[in-house]
Symmetry: C2
Subunit: 474 residues, 2 copies
């Protein structure tokens, strides 16, 4: 039976502490592949903790791919050794002239299920207060004097601290670069890595990513996903030396990259010092069940993971502040080679954000949003489950982030369902539309990506009625 000393746990919740101990044993091989774990009830009794604690730890282990649950049998340790890579080579797509980009024009629709953030929940008063405080309490020299190219040290310290507390990352402020949004920071990464960068992105994935690399004349390979994450065998065959990932919550599939796949990715990078991984942690704050997934950055011993995040999902898309955490060697290179770039965020905004986080207003806001989103998700899923569409529906990836996948058995294609929804006033995207290249829809289930964050609770009922009208016929 697994025996752990749970008395050393500081402030960590008990279930999380237990999860950490078991995960460490699996990583270090003390719990080998395919070993069966004791039953939850037996382990709870053995350790003298509640059943809920063990359940919390186990579900986190399952979410991160350390352990798999086998129905009616129990929990088994997964195999963390990277799989051997067979598979045909996929060359990166040749660099092409940028295509016409469909900028998301505001559609005339009553209900928008394409994501975007809940602007009504923007903590307007608290933010305005932080701005006013920065204006009145900081010295003029601080606000309008010469600025540090990486960003204001005070904000970088606050972010380092925040990442330590909430993401378990051990980061120096010297590794952090602040910039006007993630898009800007990706441009800086491309310039930092220099000539010869070839990037791989997830397929399906976030379409604007490809645009950014294309207009920077970087060859792009689209790498398929399986149920563990991006396929590292195909990544290796693609010739790419940079991979851009959303491992904590893949967009749009919602998939959490499994622990074995994370090690495979790190193993891929470690084979060549010029390989890098961009970990885009875009909605880590909004895991709605269990604890947030530990970032890849924490497992990176070789300095090959570049962590990026913004405040777009938590504070709104008008809020143009993002940051990246560079491995120490790249941070040095940034200062040396790109240090001539001035920081693109005004000092007033940076200091207001530092105050906003320090005061606890940011955390309170995120907690409030998480609660609202959870309620909204539950309300919407319940309305769908009790709708006339119910017998044909299935759900996936509803536990994290602010979108989930809705499966609908249908003879129509995903794009047809999307079009019919729009005719009824619902803007929604089919999963199919996020694929690059040919991707046949299999079986009779069509998947829609439901980004519910800009929906008002009062809209849920009418929105589901509109979807019924759109989709009831086959």
């Amino acid at each position: 039976m697994l025996t752990y000393d749970l008395s050393q746990r500081d402030d960590t919740p008990l279930y999380e502490y237990l999860y950490e101990l078991i995960a460490a044993d699996i990583r270090q091989g003390r719990l080998g592949a395919n070993k069966k774990l004791p039953s939850k009830r037996a382990l709870a009794k053995h350790l003298g903790v509640s059943l809920i604690t063990v359940e919390g730890a186990f579900s986190q282990l399952v979410a991160e791919g350390y352990v798999r649950a086998v129905e009616r049998k129990g929990y088994y340790v997964c195999d963390l050794t990277p799989a051997a890579a067979p598979v045909a080579a996929i060359a990166p797509a040749p660099v092409q002239a940028p295509e016409r980009v469909a900028v998301d024009k505001p559609l005339t629709c009553a209900f928008d299920l394409r994501g975007g953030s809940l602007s009504e929940a923007f903590p307007y008063d608290a933010w305005a207060r932080s701005l006013r405080e920065a204006l009145s309490q900081e010295s003029e020299a601080t606000l309008v004097g010469p600025q540090e190219p990486l960003g204001t040290l005070r904000l970088r310290r606050v972010l380092a601290n925040y990442l330590g507390e909430f993401r378990g990352m051990s980061v120096s402020p010297d590794q952090i670069v602040i910039g006007a949004g993630a898009q800007y920071l990706y441009n800086m990464i491309i310039q930092l890595l220099g000539a010869g960068v070839q990037v791989a992105i997830e397929n399906p994935g976030y379409p604007r990513l490809e645009h950014i690399y294309r207009v920077n004349r970087v060859p792009v390979a689209h790498i398929p996903m399986d149920d563990q994450g991006i396929r590292v065998d195909l990544l290796g065959a693609s010739g790419a030396n940079l991979v851009h990932l959303t491992p904590s919550h893949q967009f749009p599939t919602g998939l959490v990259t499994s622990a074995p796949r994370r090690y495979e990715l790190l193993s891929w990078a470690s084979q060549d010092g010029k390989r890098f991984i961009i970990e885009d942690d875009y909605d880590c704050e909004f895991r709605l069940a269990g604890k947030p997934i530990a970032p890849l950055q924490r497992l990176d011993a070789q300095g090959q993971v570049i962590y990026t995040n913004t405040f777009t999902k938590s504070l709104g898309s008008a809020f143009r502040i993002g940051y990246m955490v560079l491995p120490p060697a790249l941070a040095d290179r940034y200062e040396r080679e790109l240090g001539f770039y001035s920081c693109t965020v005004s000092a007033v905004d940076q200091l207001a954000l530092a105050r906003f986080i320090e005061s606890g207003a940011y955390e309170r806001h995120v907690n409030r949003m998480r609660t609202q989103y959870r309620a909204l998700r539950d309300q919407l899923m319940e309305a769908l489950r009790t709708s006339q569409l119910a017998p044909r529906l299935s759900f996936a990836a509803q536990d994290s982030g602010i979108h989930f996948l809705l499966g609908l058995r249908s003879f129509a294609s995903g794009e047809e369902l999307q079009r019919r929804a729009l005719e009824q006033g619902v803007a929604i995207s089919c999963l199919q539309s996020f694929y690059q290249g040919k991707h046949a829809e299999e079986g009779d289930v069509r998947w829609l990506v439901v980004g519910y964050s800009s929906l008002d609770p009062a809209q849920v009922g009418p929105c589901v009625r509109a979807l019924e009208a759109a989709w009831l016929e086959g």
Copy 2:
């Protein structure tokens, strides 16, 4: 005798109106090359205006290269036809790995003559008021809702209007793109023009420009200047299809590109629809004598001039807002191909700036700064002229922008003078240091670039004493 109807002039000052009429006659060939203009006194009498009015018009015509003054003889019309281009080819420098960049670390010096803006003159209260007003008077939806990728329409309208009033430019808000500083906008221009861009920059010039193009893997050619501006013959031979200029006030020489040279540049561009000119109008607000030089953009009939400007020189380097004016066809292309980029400036800042300009606070600030700079320049030049260095000094380019050139007869090199000044606590750059490649200092006059804007009036005396200590010996 030249005869003009001066009664139609609206609000334009009389001297400027007269200047415009004569310049138009020269451009359209009604006043041919080498024609002698009437004497100032005779023309004033003939037109029934004051001598001061004619003097103002003539000195503007001379400043812009329409007319040249021949001592004791009078004023003659310049030849505006582009010179034929002979000259050996200069290949753009091959793309090299970015070099180590010397980021301007704050030197430990008592007096900083390297430019930078006068942060004490930042209109802090007026700006904070505009920010507070934007926060309290704009709707939440405006501030935190979805934003236009080109920038807030209101600010683009205000800028179009401002450019019309102060630079005589006829510009639609649709042509304006707002971004977090000039460096960011140059990145966007590179991505907009796409693969195959080869840029030419002025030599001597602004060193960070080269860094930006280099890290974007754009080949860079350094084109020498003569007394009219950049040498278009060498530009043509370089193979570049983009030229990045500071025609209104070249940095660091202070040279104003002459009218004939402006037409040569436009003629160069018009020979190939894929050639473009970036007109960097970085300190147009600070012409200290005469009226500001008309921008190249106004003369551009083919849509090949991209005008860029920022608020860095007028509001401080911490103020990260810049804008560019694209020719209509490029503006369309920007929306189509780069419209997926979110605007990098927060809506609050954009609306605060729009209010700041609309309220007249910006214009008042610039006028106040211009007066301060003029007084500071006069005080510094007077202190130099009455110093022990006086017999060895000469001055150039003191009428526009916030730096001038100081010539010192010396046996030492410019770099040696720079080093000796720093030993005495004065940070100052020699002109030589802005040259790329080999450039021998000729004769016995060494030129220093005096950026006086961050000097306090009380520092002028001690600063000149320090320069005496540094340079008195040869």
